[in-house]
Every structure is written in structure tokens, then in C-alpha cells.
Symmetry: C2
């Protein structure tokens, strides 16, 4: 089987590629060839099968045609610019996140082999006011350009799927936590920073109060969602092709207690409270909790607790070791 | 004030143009100039102000720029190919209904005068299974390419509006009944045919049972929605910029009784029952009833009954006369 991953240089893309390279299968099917595409050629993990790394601008008209020329059987479409960048650069957001997606879908249609397409969407397709728990029928009402572009991608996915051009499934990822790597400037960065930095003996800034609640999944769980989506019987989805993924609803206070349980009081002392009204206002617009009944019934599974999210980070990124 | 109407050659566009020409105002503001655009130059009604008729393909990149060059203050964006055609010609549907809308919105953004934009959307943005009454928070889940394109237009409208590029409002029109003119091949055509034809002494075919229920507004009510949307205080809308319009939920049986009340048993006898399984299956996927609380609270008003819908047709299209 031939597998294509767009956005393979991103955090989730890299982890997905590593997992595919290590296992050599998706479900029960053996991978014969893996194509990893991103704006800069992604690193290619060692694998027992052919791995190609391709530098490509997904928003250029010919790129998608070249990517699907080899008729991949499974396509993970992860390529996107992130929320902050899409908000700052309106044109680039639409060019990459909307046009890039549509060009890929059109190229798949033209290629004609009707592959499985797994589209990474986001809880940013929703906007407040929210109920206590967001259910599977909550309306699409994004409050950012990124969320708008993801919602439009979901609509295209459903329509192209309905027409039989491919077999699509969209998964709305929770906020990924703990994000590995350096702190970034995303408004949501602190959710990861206050764990990742203290776990290696570094200070981190907390700009919001302890009772702020949000919806999380570990990078490991996110890769699990993508793989499950690639093998799921899509006949069970009906016409509604995009699903809220399961996750963990946790407060900052619960994050901190999970950190304390794993790394002790000295790690917790490295969190410096520095309230930021701007970040507070942004975060107030975000979902806090979901009841993802459809995804659970379809066999998607998330981290069991925030404690598990911290442990996944320690195992996957720190070789099991905590402390400075 | 300068007003632009796209799709001005269509049934609703013509009626809107006539109403604007006759009244000379939108709300309390006088119209100085009216531009009517469609693929073929629309007829220009006589008016006490300047009326321009323009032939333009909304999906060509330069068209929109030319249309907004005069900085219209109010833009009614009605141009679209209909559901049946968008379903039959996938590429044309996306080109006209999605690209045409996006090009217009981009041209308005580039022009920079932030006009009021009234976008004609449709209840086709929804898909079943439906509750007894569809409320204002029912999710976007279209089951046709046309509905997908309208839903994507709504998302663009909200995002461009949020960014301040224009002041947008989307109105989801019920099925328009009684459509004037010749019977067309739309699956929904019979809803109008079984009234319009008998009202002038002609036979009409009814392909579905009498208990089929659907959601209707007269052309007169639809024009009223557009005009109200053009003057509404959009500050009241919040972030959710597209609204389910009010209408009349009626069964075929109720349609027939309204016809009987207006035109007698002899008109009803002209309806020939000829069940069609294909049309029945299509119609089963359509909404039957709405609870359009937001629109009602914002002052949108519909026909009061199906009887009024028939009377509006007799007054507006038949000069008050019924019979062959």
C-alpha cells in the first residue's frame, strides 16, 4: 500500500511518519511506499520500505497532481498554516488551508483511484457560546480564519466523498498537549509550556488563572486518531464525515497537579504566574469540554487522564526521565 | 446610495429590482443608482434613478472588480446556479457558486468601502436526520453540492465580516412558492406547479403523497427578507451571520386546500396524481419545518399562511384573476 502524508514536517506529521516507519502497517495492510511532503523536505525515518521525502508548496496548482500521481491508497492531509499565522496573514491562510486542500481534493478526483483521505480538522471549527459539553451536533461557527478554512475543508471533504471521488473522514483534533520543542508564540502555547519546561528544570509563564478549562489530547493520542481514521469502516459514518475526537477536559489546576504527581513540588515551583488579559480573553472563546459520542462509538480512544498525557510526554520525549 | 444586485436576471432578482425601482428607497435611504448584473444583461425596470444593466460572468476573475468599482453601498449577492445544475455539473457549481462568491467578496475587500452585503443562502445547507422543528443552532450538513457551496459562502461571509471587510448577512431562503413562469425540471418544481398551473386552467402532475411537508415562502416574502436584511442593525447578529428565514410549513394537502379556497374544486381537479419514487426519495431528505426564532426576533416576517402564499401569487402574477 502507498501512503501519502502532507504536512509531514509538522509536529504531528513527524510523529505519524515515525509510527508508520516503525510498524510498517496500517491496520492489517503492509506499507510498500510512504511519501512525506512538506514545504521543506521532511526528514525521512528509517523504514523497511521505500520512503520518499518531497518539498512541495501545497497551494501551487501543480503540486497536488504530482503528489497523487502514484495513486496513494491512504492520504493523511495534515498540511496547514496554524491559527495565529492564518489570522495574521489572511491571504496566506486561504491560499494554503483552503486552496491547498481543494487543489489536493481536485487532484485526487482527477487521479480517479478513490483513496481513503484522512483530513486533520480542528475544534477551531466551533465558536461560542458553548454548552457545558459540546455534543456531536454542535453547529460549525468558527471565530477565526483558521477555523473557517478547516470548516470549509470539512464541507469539501463531505461533498467530494458523497460524489465518490474519495473515501474521506475528517477528525477534529483537540489542542495537542504536551507539544514538544521550543515554546512558541501561539496563544495556546502556555498549556504545554507549563509542563514541558518544568519537566526539564526550566521556568514557564502561566498567563491565565488555575480554573481555566480546555480540551486536550497527547501527540501520541492524535497519531492514534489518524491511524484509526485510516482503517475505520466509513460506511458507519453516514453523511456526516467529520468527527469530534475524544480528549481530556482539564483545568490548569489539574494540569499542575498532574505535573506535581510526575515531577514533584520543585517542578511546580518553576511555574511563574504572570496574568495576561489579552491571552485570557482569547482563551475565553475556546471550547472547554466535549461529549464525543460518535467518535467513542466508532472506536477512537484518547488519553485516559491528564496524568497519562504528562506520562506520554515523559516517555516519548524525555526517555522516561524528568528533572533539570 | 448605490445598490448592486448580482443574479438580477433570476426570478427573485427581477422581483427585487422591480421593488427597488418602484420604491426608490431601501429603508430610509434614497437610491441614486442601481446596477443589475447577470450572465445575460437583465431587463432594467423603469425608475426615477439611474439603472445600469450589466452582462457579466461572476466566476471570471475580473468581473467582480468591475462590479464593485463604483463602490456600491448595498450588494445583494443572489447569483448562483441552482441545485439541480450544481449537482449535474460539479465543476460549474463550484466555479459559479463558490468561486464567484469568493471573487466578489475579495473584490469588495480590495475596494475597501465595507458595504452591506446580503447573501442569499438556502435551507439546502442542512441535511437530515431532522428534528420535528429545525432550530437556529442546527448544524450545517449539506447533502448536495449546491448546499455545500452555500454553506461555504456563509462561512466566507462570516469571516470576511469578522475582519471588517464588509458588513455581511446571510439569509437562508425557504423553498420559493409559487414560482412564476413555466414548469421547470427541479425536483421541487411540483410544489409550485400544482398551484400555478391549475390557477390558469392547466393540468399539473403531483409526484408525491398529500402528507409530504415542506417549508415555503412566497417570492414577495423573499424580497421582503432581502430588503429587511439590507437595513437591519447587524450589531444584533453577533458572530453568527446567517439566519434561517421564517416561512410556512405546509403539507401538499394544505397546499391543495389553499388552492381550493382560492380557485375552487375545478382547479383542484386539474392536479393529476402520478407517484414518482425518485422524486419521493429526494424530497424525503428535505427539511419540513423550522423554528426561526432569531429571524423573527430581528423583525423578518413571512407569509402568514399557505392561503396568503396563493393569494400573493394571484395578486402579483395574475392581476388578481384566477381560472383558465
Amino acid at each position: 500500500m502507498h501512503v501519502l502524508v502532507t504536512g509531514a514536517g509538522g509536529m504531528i506529521g513527524r510523529k505519524l511518519a515515525e509510527r508508520l516507519a516503525a510498524s510498517g502497517v496500517i491496520g492489517s495492510r503492509r506499507i510498500a511506499r510512504l511519501t512525506l511532503a512538506d514545504l521543506a523536505a521532511p526528514g525521512a525515518p528509517a523504514a523497511a520500505f521505500d520512503v520518499a521525502s518531497v518539498a512541495v508548496d501545497i497551494s501551487s496548482p501543480r503540486a497536488a497532481t504530482e503528489l497523487v500521481a502514484g495513486a496513494p491508497d491512504v492520504i493523511f492531509h495534515l498540511a496547514a498554516i496554524v491559527s495565529g499565522e492564518a489570522e495574521a496573514d489572511f491571504d496566506k491562510g486561504y491560499r494554503v488551508n483552503l486552496d491547498g486542500t481543494r487543489l489536493l481534493f481536485e487532484a485526487i478526483r482527477a487521479r480517479g483511484n478513490a483513496p481513503r483521505v484522512v483530513f486533520a480538522s480542528s475544534i477551531a471549527v466551533f465558536g461560542g457560546p458553548y454548552p457545558e459539553q459540546i455534543d456531536d451536533d454542535f453547529p460549525l461557527a468558527p471565530l477565526t480564519s483558521y477555523g473557517t478554512q478547516k470548516a470549509m475543508g470539512e464541507l469539501l471533504l463531505a461533498d467530494f466523498g458523497r460524489k465518490g471521488f474519495f473515501d474521506g473522514i475528517g477528525i477534529r483534533l483537540p489542542t495537542i498537549c504536551v507539544r514538544p520543542g521550543a515554546p512558541n508564540k501561539a496563544a495556546s502555547g502556555f498549556f504545554s509550556n507549563i509542563l514541558r519546561e518544568p519537566l526539564v528544570g526550566q521556568e514557564a509563564i502561566l498567563p491565565v488563572p488555575d480554573d481555566v478549562r480546555h480540551w486536550f489530547a497527547s501527540p501520541r493520542a492524535a497519531v492514534g486518531f489518524l491511524l484509526h481514521a485510516a482503517t475505520l469502516d466509513t460506511g458507519l459514518l453516514g453523511q456526516r464525515r467529520s468527527l469530534n475526537m475524544p480528549g481530556v477536559s482539564a483545568t490548569i489546576g489539574e494540569e499542575i497537579e498532574a505535573l506535581r504527581a510526575v515531577a514533584g513540588d520543585e517542578a511546580v515551583r518553576l511555574i511563574r504566574r504572570q496574568p495576561d488579559e489579552t491571552i485570557m480573553r482569547i482563551v475565553e472563546g475556546w471550547p472547554r469540554n466535549f461529549a464525543p459520542q460518535r467518535a467513542l462509538a466508532l472506536g477512537f480512544s484518547a488519553d485516559r487522564s491528564f496524568h497519562d498525557i504528562v506520562l506520554a510526554h515523559v516517555e516519548d520525549e524525555l526517555g522516561g526521565r524528568v528533572g533539570g
